[in-house]
Symmetry: C2
Subunit: 459 residues, 2 copies
């Protein structure tokens, strides 16, 4: 008789695990069932801002694979709108509620993949559910927002709360709809995923597009009038708004797992070993936005919800479930985004992270261009490096620029992954041609500057 693999959560991590296990084990050997409480499997949450903005024409384009594809091509059964409400590790079964048909389903498992993702952080004031206030995590959230933007009386003033990736991307998306857009952020700058000096470049670019940036303000409540949002209340007074998007970050969705006895680590997310197995619970794996990952630079467990990690972790879990051997060696915090035309990339530790991890370091900011200075379309690029002293080991890097800047972070990410020193990096053989780089690539210019900073840092 075939064993059964049950997947809790049918998005990137869960479905990657399922697909990968299937590649290695046929249907006669392994039955695979996935429960998903939402309406979709394997959709690109990261794509939602671009669909809302109108750049991506249709919602369906964000869905990589639907349940029919999983069934027909992979012999994987997906039960949409089924919310798993309990996991019994002793009896080795899950209980799921059918959100549409009603009733309960029980499914035994030999192997379990816990891939419940993350849920948006909702402060007390956000929990009421005021009309015109939207989270932005699911495709349904996007549909609801688009409906609201289309409905009379049409909103004109948009407010985004939170200046992280989703916040800045949604601010831009709302701008595309012709709304006046403000962004409120509790910290001193939006995009605090980079250091303040780099974040200021982002804030400037956002202001340049007409987005109002209101930093250092704490939201304390929502004002509604006639059953619709009218204003957001902050510690410095109300800001009128007739549509509000919340971008306050997410936290790992651990409640179900904790109730079943899955261990939670210091980051608040589910603990896993290198093979994505949950320690102490044989046959149980976890992957994606609900787990914590080793940060290879700080050595600390971190919760970094991101589709690319979810896919990799799911793949690793699936290979191991399939009888192969694979490990997930951790993350280094690489991320890229686009704020209107400005490109932003980061990897490794920010200054504050490096301090917190106990490193001593130097930092340098190097100004350069994406192309040879004489080549048409050459635009400014700023590269920041953080290097341990006295060793010179790269600890973190950030790039802000106007064209072909963001993905340049990859070269730095691979250097950091391999524990290179900035001195070693000055010799890197990177691609050079006038349309793509000055003869000293911005990355190399920054490395040289860091070497000089280390020499002058008194050690």
């Amino acid at each position: 008789m075939a064993e059964r693999m049950v997947v809790v959560g049918g998005d990137a991590a869960g479905m990657s695990a399922a697909s990968q296990a299937r590649r290695l084990r046929g249907r006669d050997d392994l039955e695979i069932v996935a429960f998903e409480r939402g309406h979709f499997t394997s959709y690109s949450a990261c794509g939602i801002p671009y669909w809302v903005s109108g750049l991506v024409p249709g919602r369906d384009q964000l869905v990589a694979r639907d349940p029919a594809t999983f069934r027909d091509r992979f012999d994987i059964e997906v039960r949409l709108r089924h919310e798993v409400t309990g996991i019994d590790l002793d009896r080795r079964e899950v209980v799921a509620r059918d959100l549409e048909g009603g009733g309960e389903v029980r499914a035994g498992f030999d192997t379990l993949v816990y891939a419940t993702g993350a849920t948006p952080i909702q402060p007390g004031w956000a929990r009421g559910g005021v009309a015109g206030v939207f989270g932005m995590q699911t495709l349904d959230d996007g549909t609801a927002l688009l409906d609201w933007l289309d409905r009379e009386p049409k909103p004109r003033r948009a407010l985004v709360i939170g200046g992280g990736y989703i916040g800045v991307e949604m601010a831009e998306a709302l701008l595309h709809h012709g709304l006046s857009v403000d962004l409120v952020e509790q910290a001193d700058q939006p995009m605090s995923t980079v250091d303040p000096d780099m974040g200021e470049l982002v804030a400037e670019a956002m202001r340049g597009t007409g987005i109002g940036i209101r930093t250092g303000r704490t939201v304390t409540g929502l004002d509604e009038r006639d059953g619709r949002i009218a204003a957001v209340v902050t510690d410095e007074g109300p800001i009128p708004a007739d549509v509000v998007v919340l971008g306050l970050g997410v936290r790992p969705n651990t409640a179900l797992g904790e109730a079943a006895g899955l261990p939670v680590g210091p980051s608040g997310a589910i603990r896993v070993d290198r093979r994505m197995r949950v320690p102490g619970t044989p046959g149980v794996y976890a992957a994606g936005d609900c787990v914590e990952s080793l940060h290879r630079v700080s050595g600390m467990p971190m919760h970094i919800p991101l589709g690319t990690h979810a896919n990799k972790q799911g793949r690793v879990a699936g290979i191991n479930i399939g009888g192969g051997y694979a490990t997930f060696p951790g993350v280094i915090g690489t991320a890229v985004t686009k704020v209107c035309e400005l490109e932003v990339g980061r990897t490794g530790l920010r200054e504050r992270d490096a301090h917190a991890a106990g490193f001593e370091f130097v930092t340098v900011l190097a100004e350069s261009t994406n192309r040879a200075g004489y080549y048409p379309g050459a635009r400014p690029m700023t590269v920041k490096l953080i290097a341990e002293r006295p060793s010179g080991r790269l600890l973190g890097a950030q790039i802000v620029g106007w064209s072909e800047a963001a993905k340049r972070i990859d070269a730095l990410a691979v250097a950091l992954w391999n524990n290179m020193t900035v001195d070693e990096m000055t010799a890197l053989d990177l691609g050079y041609a006038p349309p793509y780089a000055p003869v000293w690539d911005p990355v190399l210019i920054a490395a040289r500057k860091a070497v000089e900073a280390l020499a002058h840092s008194g050690r």
Copy 2:
């Protein structure tokens, strides 16, 4: 009394060495004199095709620093139009001919930097000097070609001989002038700096722009009529042309050095140690297109003339001359270019190089896109990896694509530099956001495919 540093060749390598040495040693400690036989210092030879095409408006934009700048800002004396004709290592002096004023100059040196660059390869048939036939190495070459294109009777049929970087870039440049353009290449494909499977993608793109590609043909002579080029004679008959550009590659300019007793390595270029010192000749350094470099993958000395290496090597020489410590750890053959809109990148070994070096390996070709498939402007990208078997170590990589493809080679170059295996690479934390990559970056997709190929390769 100050020591004297003499630089033979005032371009990238030589002037980098001079500038770097100056940063570390003041004028009272070190006098610096550079001899350059041409009209310019520190110009971007790589930029010539873009100036000829009209993209870069003026020749002066390609000159990074002129002699006045070197004199005023760096206390470095540059003697243009002075050709060094002899180096006497025993008497420690150079003899230079003043090409304009006439006469000879002698200059003693404590330290010598040999940075004579490379000279275009000229088969016998090209040596006559037919009007309308141009090399393309110096700014003077570019000026001469532009004059010719402007002069009556205006040329209409251009022929480029040689399908390397300069050849394909010049073919495109001539297209911009409205000429009909053919390219003749002895090998079976242009752009043989990548493997034939990838080169075919380049050839296709070139044909798409209207460039005639004539491969497998050997040029044997030039036909002139009325003192002007009329046709290029090949082993398969003549090809009419009224302007011809030679892109047959270059060889290291070693004659002067060899005459003085500088050692030449197996690649035909000047030998240097890790600090860019010429072995057996104290106080003599060499750098740039005239020297050979260690290829870190094959372990062989190679001659790879490229501005980015010249600058790095010059910097290393200058630091060592300045009393510091720096080494040049070799190259891995990274190069990028643009053929009309198609972007091409490569690093490490091609299949033929890997064979020649004695490696066993697998190769994979992975098709993907530069952005998330649903994001506007997503374009195809092909990544080829060559991985040693059974170890899985990356030996080489090539990328061809339509947008933001070329510089993606950098992530692969840094991985290769650090001896990563394709298995390790599948976990790399590269930047992900829909405008910049699918959730599995093309580089990671290729690495996964290589892992599978290794598993099926029977070892």
